[in-house]
Symmetry: D2
Subunit: 334 residues, 4 copies
């Protein structure tokens, strides 16, 4: 019983169907009709004109965005526990040609204007210091917390005031939308976000993420960077088709709601053992080593996050029935 990672979940039926449909011949790279439809489809969703590129991974989307927002001699402020800092093997440094990540604090991997200011106010304005050029936040965060529109907007206002770009790592953006019930526009460009990595893979996709530029002037150079990174797949239509299929009938949102609901079920069971509030599909629980072993003995698979702490991730395809046994087992811990 898989609670290890939403990356281990299958692709949803609509995605498989889309791939079969895309197998009818069209053309190479991103010259196909599906790729061409992305701007309009995301434009409708976000209620504004956007430029959208597919990428085969979230790391790729994140780092193309960062490279668009920060020069090699600049810095990007992010949380100390951000995925871009800890889980991408230096991809931001690779794509930006050596920009520096400046690490801020914040509960549950969540930044605030005060936390960001704390970091950038230390940077003297001279050539000896790497100057900040961008901020990157993750919504939902690496610990399953969610930024509300006003929280993003506060950071967006700071970014504008300081001349910084604002990137949102939305590997679990769908979960954040599901939780907040906010308009996608309110969580992003209306709150000052310049570029969004809109995740599909963890949410029932297979091999495609969307990089959404609200600052459309950033897309032209990014097309070259994408190609130059070996990310312009020669049969890109299979990626575009996946994304479009998940936008149809708001599958992306239904999938996220399902995962969030499952996590809420686990959260209720965990009660006082929760390390963080559960606002998306990740649940961090304090369990002793023997308790973790007992849960595993029951067939549950999960990640040992830290000593005395496990991470449970609910995926789009897990029904209440599939989750209930784990919830019961957690509730049954002494």
């Amino acid at each position: 019983m898989r609670f290890f990672s939403d990356n281990a979940a299958p692709a949803c039926p609509a995605v498989l169907d889309a791939i079969v449909a895309a197998n009818r011949v069209d053309t190479a790279y991103d010259g196909d009709r599906w790729s061409a439809a992305l701007d309009a489809r995301f434009g409708a969703l976000f209620e504004t004109e956007v430029s959208v590129l597919w990428t085969p991974s979230g790391t790729a989307a994140n780092c193309l965005a960062l490279a668009a927002l920060c020069p090699p001699h600049g810095a990007i402020v992010c949380h100390r526990d951000a995925h871009i800092q800890n889980d991408e093997c230096g991809a931001p440094e690779f794509y930006t040609h050596g920009a520096k990540l400046l690490l801020a604090e914040g509960d549950g991997a969540k930044l605030t204007p005060a936390r960001i200011t704390q970091v950038i106010d230390l940077i003297a304005d001279d050539v000896h210091r790497v100057q900040p050029h961008a901020v990157s936040i993750t919504n939902a965060t690496e610990y399953g917390l969610v930024y509300r529109p006003d929280e993003v907007a506060a950071i967006g206002a700071l970014a504008r005031a300081r001349g910084l770009g604002l990137h949102m790592d939305g590997a679990r953006f769908a979960n954040a939308v599901a939780t907040t019930a906010a308009a996608p526009a309110d969580l992003t460009w209306r709150a000052g976000v310049d570029a969004l990595s809109f995740g599909f893979i963890k949410n029932g996709g297979m091999t495609a993420e969307a990089l959404v530029f609200f600052r459309r002037d950033l897309v032209d150079a990014t097309r070259y960077r994408r190609k130059r990174a070996g990310l312009l797949l020669s049969k890109g239509r299979y990626l575009a088709a996946q994304i479009l299929a998940m936008l149809d009938d708001d599958i992306w949102l239904a999938n996220a709601r399902a995962a969030n609901a499952g996590a809420a079920l686990l959260a209720r069971a965990a009660g006082g053992r929760l390390v963080h509030p559960v606002e998306a599909n990740e649940v961090f629980v304090r369990v002793a080593a023997d308790e973790a072993a007992a849960l595993r003995a029951l067939g549950f698979d999960f990640y040992d996050w830290a000593p005395g702490e496990i991470r449970l991730v609910v995926s789009w395809d897990q029904s209440e029935a599939a989750i209930r046994p784990l919830a019961d087992a957690i509730a049954a811990l002494a």
Copy 2:
């Protein structure tokens, strides 16, 4: 009627089946059973121990190989018309952090020891010059010619003598194997090749290529480079499964034979109009602008390669019946 590019062809049925099969949950990144099987399966094919990584594009495979063989301050000798020079938007420079491509001449994009020597003998052995560290050849070449085992071996011997690594861009390696009927080992490591980009996508795959290291010591750092480039897809099992499916029953070879046979049919029709010998699935034909227009008017789609010259590419799925009309139309040109 598509003769534009083998990238526009569909994926073959076995690949679609494999993707459906991989949709049964396994695990994330390359921790799955399919990814784990690659070394052994390619090892059997190549009759030696190899280390294999999937990548989502041929450019990615090529450039990870080049980064493994050449430091940032080094150079790579390739043909003036090589894909890595002309069609990857500087990806080799990106992945190698600025190594230089040294361009050699050669008929049909084919290198020889003499052509390579011509280039590297001009490089004085001092710190003012970028020193060569590797050679990259393409088999089949960008003009559809094929290196035989002895031709590769001659280049391999030169590479060894000069302390250079040897990379083979095998975006159409299957076609070269089909043409030469050589053992894959004889076309590669027995001839001195250190790393092979083994192409599947143009040959009926969807989104997966294999990077095969015969020098297995190169794979460890490459794993980090792959991750760092955003190329370690979080659901990598779908890529590994595609590759394995095409190795089954030698589908990769059957597909390439089919495409080669189609190209041979066109070559016979083109006769004296051929720009290059046709040894794989690409056919370059001299046609005047009005002749090209006439062919297009009949519904044939192809690439204008140069003034008075078109490129026709046959894909794995095109039967003789599908190709015959174009062959007849070419033969019917005055």
Copy 3:
């Protein structure tokens, strides 16, 4: 008797005096009064507002300029024999993070609009190709030829029309000014040059070159790049002082005239043996191996440029009396 390289020449007395003067304490990095004076002093020389940075080498000046004019995913057109291509160990690729040099032909390492067009017209306007962003020319060229103002202006007009930046490697700019008697402005910004590497070291300086930006918007990011490259020397005043000293009393021009005159003397002696017209301080002469040996036996030191060809370089400090013996020896060759 040194004709090997103008890099082997001593620094001129004014430079030594300036260093002693700068040894009176001022302040660190480029906060000193000499560094602060550069913009105004070069502004007067060039009859326009400029932004000027000192660098400790010509390679550094060239590559900071190129990095300002070309993004990592772009290309720079230069001559096949340009210093930036052949003699800087890939420094342009290092500083630009992997931009590509596109090599053009031209007699005596001299480019023309037609030669540049020949290269860039081959580049399809799509993401698969590295797109040209800049042109770099060397004045005087690597073979001692000189661009006149109208020749630079023709290239400048092409650059503007195609949206390309224009850099001039002026390691021997002083020699070019001396030869043409042109106003420095006419050889540079009035002819479309955006950035000039103004060489002092070969011309009697010690360790300082000037990077002159006519497009002043380029200087801000360049300050960070200079620091980031370890080129912002902590006692930069010694570099600025050298440059200012050579601007005083037009020492830079007098030194160049002296070197050019010496080269002209050798050119007259070499007569029909000259490989290139002699327009600056370099003289390329056809001599057989035994003739070269005979000259060396007489105590003359020079560079074997190619089989049957030697390079003689005259430095600022070599009087006619110092050069005459070599001229006579050359004239005396059969």
Copy 4:
């Protein structure tokens, strides 16, 4: 009265003399007799075979060393307040092509094995994390503390045990030698140091630092990197000569002793106001804003390090008589 920075100090007489001597013609780049003598001279000083390159800045020396010890996909552990992190505008990231600095804590910018272990033990051994490849320590530290041989050796042992390279930023290495009276070998290679940036500029030099490789296999690639960075000055003899002049008669050590003695004088005056123990030539003193203003009104120039804290740096050329007035003024603060 200058206590702002040792970078603002003049060059010492022996250095000026050496420059005049080097102005006798020799040859270009590092082909001169002075450059050729470096290995032997430093070898004698360090009682082992070493390979030494001059560089025009400490940042350049540091970053060439780091690039030799850490691949682009690796990480370097250093103190949170290290010069390479805070004062080089990302030069380590530039030279290493994007390696990450991992920041450790420690009093007075000094690392210990425990502090280093704290950082690297958090790094899971998988491709998602940037793996540590090197440690960099600064001796004397950025706050004027000094590592003793046994302290370096403890870090060296850890580095060896974990497979990490060890770099020492010795911008003020001379001061550390002066303080500890240790053999230079005991502070470096015998304690596990692989590469040392041996600073001369702050200590009475002008424009030359020495990069000393105890692991001599690292020097070959570094020669290319130095050239590629525009750091191989065309008249390098002036740099080598400076260094050799300061090694003569142990001027480097005498200068450092003088600066340290001056700092000790200030330290005694500051007494309980000291922020850090004073072990080299830097003195950090707690003074209120009005006290700082009062000191400045007396003509003393210094750096406001932090609110309520100033930094005083004593240079090689400041006699006790020159320092006494500041010492008295500090002692006279209420």
